[in-house]
Amino acid sequence: MTLTPLKIHSIIEGLLYLTGEEGLLVEQINKVLPECTAQEIINHVEQMKKDYQENEASGLMIADQPNGYRLTTKPFMADYAEKFAVIPKTAPLSQAALETIAIIAYKQPVSRIDIEEIRGVKSERALQTLVVKGLIKEVGRAEGSGRAILYGVTPIFLDYFGLHDLSELPPLAEMVKHQNEQLDAYDLFYDHYKETIKNL
């Protein structure tokens, strides 16, 4: 028996409900619905996302998370949800932490010194906060005498910012990627860099 799209939607909705804040991986849906390909499942979920969004009678939506999805209440529900007082409040990241994690996300693996050079200020506290929150992690050590700690982002980073994977980060200009190369190379890239910057 083949499942109708409506039936597939209902099954995915049911699973999303059961898993709640834990969320559901595309792969897990696939195990329950082996008759669909991963791409078909993604297409179904994308359609469901639209349906929720357009359905004014629904207070629910589907949010992205690493390799999967999670059923959540719509943003307008936040006020009503808070009246229940069961929602743990988390403080948003400081500006310093946001700048630091942006640098790590784009340039990882990256050392504290690299980050401080870009930001022009000490970034130790911001790094510490990010490590404690599990958003970044030591991913290795730099070559050389100092053996500086190199940082990278974690899956929690993706989850925190609602991304499926790092490719969903908005692209940065070309130059930044080559920033560490020789100064000669810099001249080569400069014109292109200037253009890309303007287009941002």
């Binding site: 059961l18 946001l98 870009i118 925190y160 930044v176 920033q179 910057i197």
Partner: protein
Amino acid sequence: MEYKVKIDAFEGPLDLLLHLIKKFEIDIYDIPVAEITNQYLDFIHQMQKLELNIASEYLLMAATLIAMKSRMLLPKPELPSVDVDEPYEDPEMAREALMRQLLDYRQFKEAAEVLKENENERMQLFAKLPSDLTPYENNDLTTIPLAGRATVHDMLRAFRRLMLKKKLEEPLNTKIDRQVLPIGQQMNLVMEKLKVAEHPLSFQSIFDYPDRSHLIVTFLALLELMKMNAVSCRQSENFDDILINLGEGADDFDATENPFDY
């Protein structure tokens, strides 16, 4: 010029410079060093109270800007300096380096803005706790005994898990074949397997046939053999496979005499 902004409104000297560049509509690709230095120093002077640990970074930038500005006022030497003690530093290079630094920083600052929006959106979304799926699991992982002899109850659980696993792996023959396989015959088969192997067999290996009715019959046969003490089962560790061994009553087991051959 009256600044009502506090120093801690800025993330550092680069952030402050970007602010000044925006405020005075300065072309970031062609920074007038003299002007930006003056604006920067002005701002620093306006600060009633600079916390020393924060201030050092701002003061270092001030010194860099002043050095750059003063070098620009000096005539460029005709030949590059060979004096090791006082190498000539091209102020143009320094200016370009500053510009590069500012552009770099600005990009990440913008990226941080995007992340902040994401964070803010994310914080508006709430989800329920995951449901307790144990009723669907058909086995309660928290109550499986840690070690020792497995009970019939454990076997039932293991069996259910096995059925579910097999169900996932391949579609089972859902049509019920009525007694194609007598229990007695299957009891003999299990005993034979154990005698031939001469060592305990795993629970999984007994159920090698992916058919529901076959599984059920084999399982019933095994339960009957346990009751007769012809086999014993043990589980060495939590979640381990159950091992089936010949029991004390194995010798008394008579293959020809089986009450289940109906």
